[in-house]
Amino acid sequence: MTRFRVSVEIRPRDGILDPQGRAVADALRTLGFAAVHDVHVGRFVVLEADAASPDAASADVERMCQRLLANPVVEDYRITAVVPQVASA
């Protein structure tokens, strides 16, 4: 088994009103960042878990997203990195 550090990005689903993202976008434009069109604010989860392979680690985290880490009614998730850590004894 290898220990993997897995990163997951969770954000409001496209098409669903994201008042937090809109407020941040407004604030950025107020600061003079006129180029900003769209902002979405979500969560970033980093976890370490043991698995036989990167694919297995990714599949495990996929199940975690479906059951707990994201709410598919209002959120999308994306596994952004699966990085092996030191091998466990």
């Binding site: 409001p12 008042p19 009614v73």
Partner: protein
């Protein structure tokens, strides 16, 4: 008729619910600790308001995996009444007892206020003692109360008479179709963001919530 009020770490309207049932309605109630697997033969389960597990991750996301939620789900599947208020509504949606989700209020602010809520149907065990179209004064206190479901689900809720309460006049949180409370297809699980249990005593400003509890008493005790 015996009420069971689930207590999660972070529940804070459990005693309000107890007061409404015991002192307002005059029926017995027990607290059910979230780690228990025993519903103690209650007739009605109340999922109370609060911030179960600190709303970590998402409101209700972790509470739904509390041990007692297994028994609550079985109770609901048997047709047992579940009254899910505010954070309890969020827990019930996360647990799949009710469709949809509660998202961040459109104005981003936590709102603590008394709002007007319209009774959309009296054909439920929770609203039989109200009049159809009756407008109630009920407090709300939430930051994530914007009801969201896809259009197909909303149409089904509307078509099947599952929208029980709507905000009347102002929609405080941006909920889809002004929805304040819904029942499941079986009609035995009610989720609502307003707090009827905090409107059961004239000394705190409104008794408009009491008829929800007396509806349950007349309709559930009769079966």
């Amino acid at each position: 008729m015996k009420f069971g009020i689930v207590v999660f770490p972070g529940s804070n309207c459990d005693t309000d619910a107890y007061h409404a049932v015991v002192d307002g309605l005059g029926e017995p109630a027990v607290y059910l600790w979230h780690k228990s697997h025993d519903l103690e033969e209650v007739d009605v389960v109340v999922l109370p308001g609060g911030f179960a597990y600190g709303d970590y991750l998402r409101a209700g996301a972790i509470a739904r995996f509390s041990p007692i939620m297994q028994e609550v789900a079985e109770h609901a599947q048997r047709g047992g009444p579940v009254l899910a208020i505010c954070n309890g509504f969020q827990v019930a949606c996360e647990a799949g007892l009710l469709p949809g989700a509660l998202a961040r209020n459109v104005g981003l602010q936590f709102i603590s206020d008394t709002v007007r809520v319209r009774v959309e149907t009296t054909e439920t065990i929770f609203t039989a003692a109200y009049g159809r179209g009756q407008v109630l004064a009920i407090p709300i206190a939430h930051g994530e109360g914007r009801y969201y479901a896809d259009a197909e689900t909303l149409d089904r809720l509307d078509g099947e008479g599952q929208v029980v309460f709507r905000y009347h006049g102002d929609n405080p949180n941006g909920s889809a179709r002004d929805i304040a409370g819904i029942v499941n297809a079986g009609g035995n699980v009610l989720g609502l963001m307003p707090h009827p249990e905090r409107a059961c005593d004239a000394r705190v400003g409104s008794v408009d919530g009491l008829a929800l509890f007396s509806s349950l008493l007349s309709r559930v005790a009769a079966t």
